[in-house]
Amino acid sequence: MKNKTPGYRRKEIIWSLIFIAPPILGFLIFSLTPLITSFGLSFMSWDMFTPAKFTGTENFRYMLEDEKFYKSLYNTIFLLLGVPLGMIISLVLAILMNRSLKGISIFRTIYYIPVISPIIAVSLLWQWLLNYDYGIINEFIWNILGIQGPNWLGDPNWVKPSFIIMGLWGGVGGTMVLYLAGLQGIPSSYYEAAQVDGASRWHQFKHITLPLLSPIHFYVVVMGVIGTFQSFSQMYILAADGGPEYSGATIVYYIFQEAFKYFNMGYASAVAWVLGILIFILTLFQFRLSKRWVYQE
């Protein structure tokens, strides 16, 4: 009962606050203040060299007329296709790797290596693999199918599929590990019971595996959508100035160009806010929706 004396309580509170002070300060300095500043900036016109000018909703009105904004938004949404594709491939891989086979952990490592590779190394490499004339992928297509492969990074229709392929290569290993952990958490008694009831493999998968993995599906979808909406590096390295017909630019790339190439700080802030709100709405929507399909214990 000594713990409840007022002196002790006060001391504990003071120490708790000292312990949590750094992240709180970090939050105030590096999140909250910038957030407010950015909101203010989005109603201004400012190039960092001449004084800022209040322009009201001008930035947002301009955005609605800016073709580049729509293009980068469309491109970003297109790239979301990679999320379900990645989930399917990762889940299949995880199921294959969930068998007790010799040397299975070596495979796990191999599939995980692209995940940890620096995006620069990966991008430079794919830039070449995907080259129209002397890339090894088109070389491969020519040898197998006898046709000339697409101009991956040079054709507006193929830039985004190229990014999706790169993303899958670099990402399935990470998702696979999550699924593997999930699969190992499903009690084998569930499957045994289903077998006694005469459920087929497919039925077991559909009624046991898939629903019990739903918290992981949910996590992967939410993180995948947020990640896609924030993708930048590959586009910066592989699609100079947005790629052919701006088909390789994402929203973050567009913000980056406006802010650090043209120094339209106000306008870039406005676009960033629109992006932030979009991500927020999408995430909220997914959380709402999740109540219908995510299995809760």
Binding site: S16, F30, L35, I116, W169, L178, Y219, I226, F232, T283
Partner: protein, 279 residues
């Protein structure tokens, strides 16, 4: 039954090996090209084993670009951010999991909420702020924010601490006259070592591979991190079509990551799985 199992295992092996080829071939190609002469690069059919093999490309990029600076800059950022950032995060997590204070849950949730803020929203004001301070083209904008503790790390440590540090142990330390700070460093920290190792491994990757931040802040080649330096190689140091040199540079950037991964592999997969499932 046994026969059928064997057959399935065989098929699984074949699929996984084919997949491994897809995963590794691009990297093998990078390595192979980095050891080739420029004139053998476009050989048809492609040569997987370079003949003759040469280290000249590595020497060449090392001499042309200030890669040593790049390494050092990246290392400075990683070491300072991880050593201070992880300690601070562990401290906060300890407070959130073992102390009782007003608005604890609320403050924690508010911090968690900041995970939702996309970097691009705070990036512009942060840039303006750091440029007012005269910190552009220094490593400080990459180091200082990281020293305040990352919320994902705090979350991870908190989950870990709630389960693994017995309250009795803390009380015993108290009775022995240990202060709050000493209890944290002598009782809590040693217990959460595995969690710290896991977060250090993940943090290393995140910081070492970071691109957008360094790209915005660092302009002078000697002050750039290895990633930005390599990204700028194509335009500044070697011609776009000098693939052997570009690939050599890629391997150079990849090497530390592969080494760290090799030694800390277990922690990666574990922490990834834990964050994923409980997050």
């Amino acid at each position: 039954m046994v026969k059928q199992r064997r057959l399935i295992n065989l098929i699984v092996y074949i699929v996984l090996i084919a997949g491994s080829f897809i995963m590794l071939a691009p990297l093998a190609w990078t390595l192979s090209t980095s050891l080739k002469n420029q004139k053998h690069v476009f050989d048809i059919p492609p040569q997987w084993i370079p003949d003759p093999a040469t280290w000249l490309n590595y020497k060449d990029v090392w001499a042309k670009a200030p890669l040593l600076y790049g390494f050092m800059n990246s290392a400075i950022v990683v070491v300072t951010v991880l050593s201070v950032g992880l300690f601070v995060a562990a401290m906060a997590a300890y407070s959130f999991s073992k102390f009782d204070f007003p608005f604890k849950e609320g403050i924690f949730l508010a911090l968690l909420g900041t995970m939702m803020i996309p970097y691009s929203v705070v990036m512009i004001p942060q840039y303006i702020g750091f440029s007012e301070l005269g910190w552009v083209d220094t490593l400080l904008p990459l180091i200082v924010p990281g020293m305040f503790g990352n919320i994902v790390t705090i979350f991870f440590f908190r989950q870990f601490m709630q389960g693994s540090i017995p309250n009795d142990l803390i009380d015993a330390a108290k009775i022995d006259g240990c202060g709050y700070f000493r209890t944290f460093t002598t009782v809590a920290l040693p217990i959460v070592k595995p969690a710290i190792a896991a977060q250090a491994a993940l943090g290393f990757m995140g910081i070492w591979n970071d691109f957008l931040g360094p790209l915005i802040y660092l302009h002078t080649p000697e002050r750039q991190t290895i990633q930005v330096l390599i990204a700028s190689m194509q335009s500044n140091y070697i011609s776009t079509s000098n693939y052997p040199s570009l690939m050599a540079a890629s391997i150079i950037a990849l090497l530390p990551v592969v080494i760290v991964f090799f030694f800390a592999q277990r922690y990666f997969i574990e922490s990834l799985a834990i964050t994923g499932i409980k997050g």
